[in-house]
Amino acid sequence: MLRKKSIIDTGSLSLEDIDLIFANADSFLEVSERDVKKVPALRGKTIVNLFFEPSTRTRTSFEIAAKRLSADIINFSSSTSSVKKGESVIDTLKTILSMKVDLIVMRHSDSGAVKMAEQFVNVPVINAGDGKHQHPTQALLDLYTIKKIFNKLEGLKVAIIGDFINSRVAKSDIDLFERMGIDVTVVSPAMLLPEDFSRMKVKHSIDDVIEESDIIYVLRMQFERQNRKFYPSIMEYNRFLSLNKDRLLRMKPGSIVMHPGPVNRGIEITDEVMDISGEPGERITIEQQVTNGVAIRMAVLYLILS
């Protein structure tokens, strides 16, 4: 059982919690390899996927995880645009609670919204991403993927490339990585960093880290979003921050490329890299991240509800 019943941020996960989650994830990876990919562990439990922000990957990952544990899972999506006032988040929660659910998986575009929900409900809540704040299960699956590949964590060098300030993935990952003794460098331009970034190790070009990093963690870069408008152009991005073939080939032996998905081809990672075959292609672990994501989410659901 986990120390805390809900998972809102990575900070609330103890090292023992993480070990326990990883140990169970190993078993669930095996379950996912079977012909019958289902165990009755959470039979009769009802889980709600409560998504106030559109998402396919994370929602599906939780859905498959719940189904492989024999839990009943209901998808409840509500776009934020139709939810003018946040109090209707509370109204929605009230409705869902009266249906006697056992666990809520929640995503919302506002930072802190999941924490607010957790304080309001009497069932465990898993944060599936809240605004620019946290995405703890993504951080767990990223750490788990790294651990499976390198068989160690301490002393590894990871470079996180891209839009740091707006990324909940970056913030969750950095918290877990640093606690595990992983050396983190953030590679980001000034306008995608906080005003004062003296607490972090920062570089401004991917070329500064490409050769020495064990892990190149590429973040999503969405130019269409309003708050990114201070970044000049995709061309400028490609010059300083994108992972292209030349950079991929300069990475050191045994190093890997990670990305939380979905990739904006041609922006943070070039088409050429995405479609590369042979040894360099094996460095890209995006699919392993997805597979491991299901196992991690199974472990988390199982440990909370068992």
């Binding site: 946040g86 109090e87 506002d110 930072s111 802190g112 919204a113 906080p194 005003e195």
Partner: protein, 444 residues
Amino acid sequence: MVSVKEDNNVKNILIKSGKIVDPIKRTESVSDIYIKNGIISEIREKIDITGDNIVVINADGYTVSPGFVDMHAHLREPGFEDEETIESGTLAAIKGGITSVACMPNTSPAIDNQSAVRYILEKSKNMACNVFPVAAMTAGCKGINITEIGLLAEAGAIAFSDDGNSVKDSKLMYEIMRYSRQFGIPLILHEEDSSISKSGLVHEGHYSTILGLEGISSLSDDLMIARDIILAARSKARIHITHLSTKNSVKMIKRAKEEGVNITCDVTPHHLFFNDSCLTTFNTSFKVKPPIRSEEDRMALIEGIKGGVIDAIASDHAPHLDTEKNTTFKLASFGTIGLETLFSAAFTKLCIEEKISLPVLINLISASPAAILGIDAGKIEAGKVASITIIDTGAEEVIKKESFISKSKNSAFIGQKLKGKIVCTVSKGKLAYRDKCIKERSIS
């Protein structure tokens, strides 16, 4: 609502053995005060008067202060009576020991015309404490057209402000300053460069980053203050910067004062009390404007008080309904209520923690803001209508949501243990509020 209104039939009040604070002379001395028909008739050691219709208040061990002056509150009337009214706001004020409140003009409609000023004055005539309307500098506080500053001042506006906004147009601001100078009336300036603050929610710093909440850089305050200091230096206007939040603003105002700019400023108890680490709970009560800033900023504000740069402490009482606060941080309204905790929050931080003397604090919430606003308040003097606040500085209590008188309960101080409690308020010459502990010690 809890009844705080006292019996109005009491004509005479004798306050015995209280430690009277003189905020201007910075002294404390034990004396009795006799209030006859609402007017302070005598202050001296050992007054012994008996007779009909006298309430004797035993203030032995308590501090007796001039009634407090809060130069920045939102009473929400007209237009937002569901959040607060002049009646509920003044009742909250006297519970907080405040006997004079300046109310901000960003109501609906805004207090930007003579009849609105008269409405406030008329409405507050029979209320528990004095209410002084601050009128808008621009129509609807929109920053486009200057208001009738002359007529509004004649109608009774004691100051001008577009609180909630800054006048973006520098030329307009300059002309407002030049014109207001003609009337010798202060401008109360909310300093925010909206092109910096934008959709920001909290102080931009370590916590905004890890919590993923959009930041409001301290540049927002600093740029506007810098501009307005330059404009005030040129126009010779009398400006008052309200709710300081940044380190740099203290520095700039200090320098401006040294250079002879006619500038004063205030700070709120919540900016003195909290730093941005309070945000980690996502508690929307801490969503205020300007935002609660870093510990470095907070310490600079405290230094500003110690060094005499900051002239007043004001509540920026900003009532909001539960529905406006029980939502996500992004959607929640800005503001905390503060009338009822003005003294205890400031006392806890400044006098208990920072060892600033009690007369200094009392000056910042009585005589000094009264002088800035040019109102006759903040003194205990024979011959004047009695406005007196009695404080139990030894009391301590954990602030509870249920205990607020204000119509709205959005206090950043809920759950905090605050020292110093108002036990009795004499306002407009009348016994306006008594805590039950002092009732037990009073003789009728």
